[in-house]
């Protein structure tokens, strides 16, 4: 968490998206560095006007899914599936940092989201 910073709780995803916010040496404790996450719609999922978000690495995938739900004004009961590499759905408690470290490229993590199961 961003201790000592005065950003409001809803600003965890900020609009900044410069590449210096990548998290390359996160083997060390670098909780302040955010990770660029690119959110892409798939199937009949509504498109987000803003696609690139800086996310704290210790946020969970489930947290990102809740954020998308809120942004798209979906009901909490609406299905929302997130995919990495257009192939697998990470567990909701997987950390964004873990995924970025293993599947990030060009300084960002790409997540596809959809309303119905798209892959597998």
């Amino acid at each position: 968490m961003e201790e000592g910073k005065s950003s409001p709780p809803s600003a965890d995803l900020t609009s900044e998206s410069s590449l210096e916010h990548t998290d390359q040496d996160s083997n060390k404790a670098t909780p302040l560095k955010k990770i660029d996450v690119l959110l892409k719609a798939t199937g009949d999922a509504p498109i987000m006007r803003k696609k690139k978000w800086a996310v704290e690495g210790d946020k969970r995938v489930g947290w990102v899914a809740d954020f998308i739900r809120k942004y798209l004004k979906l009901e909490s009961s609406d299905n929302l599936f997130l995919y990495v590499n257009q192939s697998f759905a990470p567990a909701p408690d997987q950390l964004v940092r873990n995924l970025y470290q293993c599947f990030g490229s060009d300084g960002k993590l790409v997540l596809h989201y959809c309303r119905t199961q798209a892959w597998g």
């Binding site: 083997n27 210790d58 969970r60 489930g62 990495v84 590499n85 192939s87 697998f88 759905a89 990470p90 567990a91 909701p92 408690d93 997987q94 950390l95 873990n98 995924l99 470290q101 293993c102 599947f103 199961q117 597998g120």
Partner: protein, 267 residues
């Protein structure tokens, strides 16, 4: 290789004894119902094993809880059903006292800590997703993508029905690689008793062709470990000079991940 196949079999046959009690706040009878004892496969997942336990306890809980999801707790810690049984055992029990004492709950589902598991299909899709992720790391996903869906089904049914040959007939394809190269990356996760798991990239060989060992993985990703910390995989402390490629082929769980449990020294 014959010897190695025996290791696969030993790992497959791993079981842990558990004793499941119903949470005292959930039973509506004067005395507590008998606990339920069973041997559970290390490689399986709790939701696949709990049908009988659930049925056993349903007689003792109030009818308005009958449709609720049953969840398990070990000494105050809610158990993540999407981790293999053996990983949970190594993290939260370790065999210090057997059988492993668990509590079954039908109320107060800990939404913050656990994912809901409404059906076996949810377990299946979680499992297949992990297999795909692992193959993405090992072979850029080429092997799993080229398999037919009946092969996927056979992997899953082999695990569900505890059929070693059925499972390995397919899984051996996911373990293929050129001996001189190994996998592209080794799919692994390091688990801790009370904090989120860690997952990173590691290659099985250095650029000059030397085999990377467990010791090197731990040095790279757990540099601040203490002397007495235990590193447990499939219930055993694997020698630290074991090559990762061999471990990945022989000690991985059916989801094709090497699950490494890091147990800090007590006190």
């Amino acid at each position: 290789m014959a010897e190695d196949r025996e290791i696969l079999r030993e790992v497959w046959d791993g079981r842990v004894p558990v004793c499941i009690q119903l949470a005292s706040e959930d039973h509506n009878t004067l005395s507590a119902p008998d606990p339920y004892y069973l041997m559970v496969p290390r490689l399986s997942y709790f939701p696949l094993l709990m049908d009988k336990v659930r049925k056993h306890f349903l007689r003792f809980i109030s009818p308005d809880l009958h449709e609720e999801e049953m969840w398990l707790e070990s000494d105050g810690m809610p158990l993540k059903w999407h981790y293999p049984v053996g990983v949970l055992f190594d993290l939260h029990c370790g065999g210090s006292s057997l059988p492993w004492a668990l509590t079954a709950h039908f109320s107060h589902f800990p939404e913050q800590d656990l994912i809901r598991c409404p059906s076996r299909e949810v377990v299946e899709s979680h499992f297949m997703s992990s297999v795909k992720e692992a193959d993405g790391l090992k072979h850029r996903g080429q092997i799993i993508t080229n398999m037919q869906s009946k092969d996927h089904k056979q992997l899953w049914m082999g695990l569900c029905n505890d059929k070693f040959d059925q499972f390995w007939a397919i899984n051996c394809k996911l373990m293929e690689c050129l001996p001189e190269e190994g996998f592209k990356f080794i799919p692994f996760r390091i688990h801790f008793p009370c904090q989120p798991s860690l997952q990173r990239l590691i290659k099985p060989q250095t650029d000059d062709g030397r085999k990377v060992t467990l010791e090197e993985l731990l040095q790279e990703f757990l540099p601040r470990g203490n002397e007495g910390d235990r590193v447990v995989i499939q219930g055993i402390e694997v020698p630290r000079d074991t090559p990762l490629q061999w471990m990945s082929e022989h000690l991985s769980h059916p989801d094709n991940f090497l699950h490494i449990c890091h147990i800090p020294t007590q006190g």
